[in-house]
Amino acid sequence: MLYSSIGYYSLIFGLIISFPIILLSIRNFRNEEVLDYKIITFSFIQLFLVVISFLGLVFSFIYSDFSNETVFNNSHTTKPLFYKISGTWGNHEGSLLLWLVVLTLFIFLFLIKSKDLLKKYRVLTVLFQQIIIIGFFVFLIKSSNPFNYIFPIPDEGLGLNPILQDPALAIHPPVLYLGYVGSSIIFSSVLAATTLNYVSKTWAIHIKNWVLVSWVFLTLGILLGSIWAYYELGWGGFWFWDPVENVSLMPWLALTTLLHCILVLEKRSNLSSWAIILSIATFTLSMCGTFLVRSGILNSVHTFANDPERGLFILTFLFVLIFLSLLIFFIFHKSDSRNSSSFFLLSKETSILINNWFMMYFLSVVLIGTVYPIFLDVISSQKISVGPPFYHKLIIPFLIPFLIFMAIGPQLKWIKSGLEEKLHLVVLFIISLLISFFIVKNLNVNFLINTILIGSAFYLFFITIRDFFLKGFKNIQQNIAHFGFSLLILSILFNNIFSSELITNLKVGESFKNDRFEIIFNDLKKLEEKNYTSFKGNFSIRENEIEDELEPELRIYNQPNIITSEADIKTTFFTDKFITMNTVKNEEYFNIRYQVKPFMLWIWISVLLISLGGLISLFKKNYEK
């Protein structure tokens, strides 16, 4: 009760603080030479109020204050403390409040970190960021207030969806949001820079850090979501081309493209229009993500029940922002032709540009696959879904040139590069193709495409390793990220090719045998836990004389009354053994799925390596200064 009120009023005051900030910014923009210190102070006050408001919600959750509607809908007294806290952002209202916390946090950090930059640029960035902040404040207070009061006060809450009660998913939203919302700073600052015609080398060096920060968080956020889906949803996969996953992939693709484009801008003062468009696209796609996930428009297997009316607000807001940014782009942006003549065909910037095209192609594939069903539903009310074959067919063939360019690109020099002393490129390519040939030869898969694909992934793999030994730490950030990517592609391919599974329905005591595995259902134990009842099955699995014991679990949660299955996974260096069990209509039969998934661990490790590349780039830069 008390905490809710504190939260609500801090939120209102937080919104009010926006007005002095805007007024001060406008006055400061016109007059003085130095940045008005009050802007920073007020930004800090705003951040402080929003954090207080967020803490108010957290404490309402901790003390199970069911007079608060959000708490009532998403919490329960028997829920463990950890999930009470993580439940704060496990719902629509709370997650938007978290958006706002990050929005205000980032603009404050931006102000502190940009001291030696142009004053007008800093002030203008604050202004644009305030537009976004106000939009979110109004949205939050009007249509999804986290502090709604209900009377009479219920005794017990409705509980948090049990599949969200998981450590990975507890930290997944904050990390993902840091990535999403980080792109808001890029958006505001690119608009400011465009208006002032400040898109330059200095700007690129400064904004690159922000791009890196959002990129690292977004990568890690997607990784966490993927790991969670792998073990919690019991499908044994890590990516399903589901719309909700796609909406997080789209800003990632745009951001990755932007990261590379910023490099060209930094080193060669080229591609400024392209960088502006990408910055706008990244934030727009992040907003679209929020809109599509929260509006209930997406037909997704991940969709949680939600409210379509909220979508309208975000959609309107989104259109206003897009309109505003395009207006600024067309009015103020003058493409500088200072350097465009020195663009040679064989150079690092060309190869980056080519890879940018590929990324844009991947982005449009994902975008169309995600949006087309919605579009078709609106115009012809036909219900369709676009499955993984669509994406695989369109993306996999293009990965081949993509990987090859990714390997060759960093070998080229800026401005103009020759092909002297590049014999190793050819030799390594032939070696990679040969290795891949011998791997694929004995397998029952499409020969040609797999050989070339695995070959090009190996190519990138070897070239990055070679670079690491020859050049050492010179370009380590790029090297690690590219190496991680080759490892990712290789792990995914091998994971796909070598996975095997067995699905059967068994009663306790029964066993099932096929030509490879034998599964014995030994035992079923019942355990009472704090907020659920657990049924633990005990299975023995025999494969080539090796016996494993696995214990998948079924949990029947008391509030809400939902059954979830917890997979039991035995992870080793090379392969994962994965088993899930499900009930069917309380009958004696249990639906058992056993999978052997090679290289799962390596998929996670390679994504970690990719983001490590970003981290190194971020710190190395500051260290060298």
Partner: protein, 139 residues
Amino acid sequence: MYGRKVKLRFLFITLILLSLILSAYLILKSLEENVIYFKSPSDIQFLSEVKHKKIRVGGMVKINSIKISSNEVNFIITDFKNEINVSYSGLIPNLFSEGKGVVAEGYLKDKIFFEATKILAKHDENYMPPEVKAALEEK
């Protein structure tokens, strides 16, 4: 005749246009082949012919219709107007139960028999796929 810069720019724009057209063609073509249509049992009754193409069927699982054996599950999907028999072997999501919404993906054998290759999982007991909701509201 033209300067190097103009030529380069011309080449650049042609390349962009070509790749745009190519990718648009590829995407549209693949879309045509790979979309999965959603049908309710009633839609299936009105089909003029049964094609061997992957579709999704959605509706409610009819009460007392689930029959389970060691390698197969059989059940009936109904939209309270028409019904269709489904046979399925594979992973069964936990929220799959009688009287609840379901979406099955697979191939039609004929107008009353459907062979499912996948039953879609949902995360929320109150969640009903929009298609099912629409199909149920239509009646």
